[in-house]
Symmetry: C2
Subunit: 384 residues, 2 copies
């Protein structure tokens, strides 16, 4: 029997909408999540530079793990013996794992020694660490993700490079659909919920085709991901592609725009009907000294903050902003203290959380446009 998802464990409800923007509730075996939601990236089983406690306190109840990375380190044996990823990393909230597809293509491309070979069977690649050869098939990735045991899982998809040709994109789209079929048939766990991934690169007709063909599997899909975006194309193109897809997708299922993005990307995509996001930006740029604030992006290492004893973001109530000044954070960053990464990360994750919460509330009030205008006015002012 082909596995779907246990209806007692998972549920998604749109509780309010404003234009195409939606506010929802996502129920999982590890808690309920309010949408739209940004999911911090816990690549290797931890959100970088912060403890789980800090992630929870900021209000996050759903984080992401990367199948590719966890498969390589610590490896499946360890995680299986721990009783799955939740147990291994001691995370009490919900987890989502990707399929590794994106990493196989992106990390492999970046590494000089690595090479990717795509066949109908699967992807043969050399990993970015040892250069060892691996085969990921849809079935094997289903197996890996069942060992990891995340609440929400992604099927193996074919990610095309940017830029690419129409023919390549069309071919990858078709293969992604065939792989989805195989992935679904390989699944055995009803306590995990699968999303389909819409591909189609930067052509509207391919995006529509991909969405419709993915929706053929709707009874097995708890939600829909939009993949292959935010890979180098202009933001306007990303918004267009998102829009043609969300217009087609079933209203009552969550939509997840993978790997997106900057605050303004998220705002624009929420407006276009996306419910879920993940992105390494807030944590990654925290470690290079960028703080997202109400009044714009702040390079905390800048000399101008040397004697600025104001909090980084006067409208933020995170641990960092409640306790520390720009001058202190600048000092910590300039002397390479690990606490600089910690405090910057706490702030950026809090900023993302705050705008998600504000958007949700604005949608419920029916004032999304008003909120957006106000947010942009401040955010692009750079007046800190």
């Amino acid at each position: 029997m082909v596995v779907s998802w246990n209806k007692d464990l998972f549920e998604f409800k749109v509780v309010a909408s404003d234009g195409n923007a939606r506010a929802g509730i996502l129920k999982t075996p590890h808690g309920e999540i309010e949408t739209p939601v940004y999911m911090p990236v816990g690549t290797l089983g931890t959100v970088k530079a912060v403890t789980h406690r800090e992630v929870e306190e900021i209000g996050y109840k759903l984080i992401l793990g990367n199948t590719y990375h966890l498969y390589l380190r610590p490896g499946l044996d360890v995680i299986r013996e721990a009783g799955g990823l939740h147990n291994f990393i001691s995370w009490k909230g919900a987890l989502l794992t990707d399929s590794g597809g994106f990493q196989v293509f992106s990390l492999a491309r970046k590494s000089g020694t690595a090479k990717v070979d795509i066949t109908e069977e699967g992807v043969i690649f050399r990993d970015h660490l040892s250069g060892d050869l691996h085969l990921f098939t849809p079935e094997f990735v289903a197996y890996i993700e069942e060992v990891l045991g995340a609440d929400i899982i992604m099927p193996l998809d074919v990610v095309v490079p940017y830029p690419t040709t129409y023919e390549n994109a069309a071919e990858a789209l078709e293969r992604t659909i065939r792989w989805l079929d195989r992935f679904i048939k390989a699944r055995t766990r009803e306590d995990q919920a699968l999303f389909g991934i819409v591909q189609g690169a930067f052509w509207k007709d391919l995006r529509r085709e991909s969405a419709l063909k993915t929706m053929d599997f709707d009874e097995y899909l708890f939600g829909y991901s939009i993949g292959g975006l935010s890979v180098g194309e202009k933001a306007e193109i990303m918004y267009e592609m998102t829009e043609v897809v969300t217009e087609l997708l079933p209203w009552n299922k969550p939509r997840y725009l993978m790997g997106v993005g900057k605050p303004e990307n998220i705002v624009e995509s929420v407006e276009r009907g996306v419910d879920m996001f993940d992105c390494v930006f807030p944590t990654r740029v925290a470690r290079t000294g960028t703080l997202y604030t109400t009044y714009g992006k702040m390079n905390i290492g800048n000399r101008r903050f040397a004697k600025d004893f104001n909090p980084p973001d006067p409208e933020c109530d995170c641990y960092t902003c409640r306790n520390y000044s720009r001058a202190y954070l600048r000092h910590l960053f300039n002397v390479d203290e690990i606490t600089a990464y910690i405090l910057n990360t706490i702030h950026n994750l809090s900023f993302y959380k705050r705008i998600m919460t504000q958007m949700r509330e604005a949608i419920i009030r029916g004032e999304f446009q008003k909120w957006k205008k106000n947010f942009y006015e401040k955010y692009f002012s750079g007046k800190f």
Copy 2:
């Protein structure tokens, strides 16, 4: 008028003793501290890899800042304008600053381009960052430490290299006394409490001479430091030197063994009448994967912990031990996650805090020897 310390703001009381070991209370303008106490090192205004909140939650109420490092970065201007070090770093507990003497000698020696010149006036050195030339005199260090505004301050002393000659040590001792006299005369703030530093390298007669000559300034000294130890000599020699000094020092004043040390060094020194310690070990080795546990030092990156789902230290109730397994910590450490440094540091600081608390309680019960025997039996067993 020569400044001493405000008797309303500072007080030290020995509340119990067991042999030479003492349990005390150290009152400062920023809170009361139970002794014996280990002080985490916050070199550049932060304990490395942990937030103040974590340091406080573990139970620390007194941390150390390094005058040499803070003088260089962020520099006095910034800290003065912030209203002192407490304000600049937002630390609500008590602070102790060293004099920079140790760093001037140790970091200068380690740097190829740096050179130290000691004259009667002071120390001329090149810093380890830019190689710029600086002069530290006793008066200037008193000035710097008043800008920093720590509760407890150290005078500039002359630190001899290890090994050294009797003549060098004797000369450094005499100059340290003359500098103490100048330092005391340069002070202006009564809301800071000064310690004298006993030198004398590895000769008992010099240590005694140094202690007695320092005690000539007793009315200006809130406590006594023992300097120049733990610099490469055998532990037994360190204990001997400590003992001849604590035998002479006034019973009612706190004794601080600077830069010490490993858990067993601290235990032995508490037994010999020391009340205060600082050391970078617990935080530094945390970042290289060493955990101090009830059952000994654990190299968490070791393969044997790959599938060990026990907490690092079963007798520890710190955040790390309550929530995470050895296998998870090993994984985080092996993939270079910053959270490895965070969680290891939390644990090691908790371990140090716990043994200090246990020693204090044992002294109060009159069972220090029993506690020590029990501690050593487990700690040197390596049975984890």
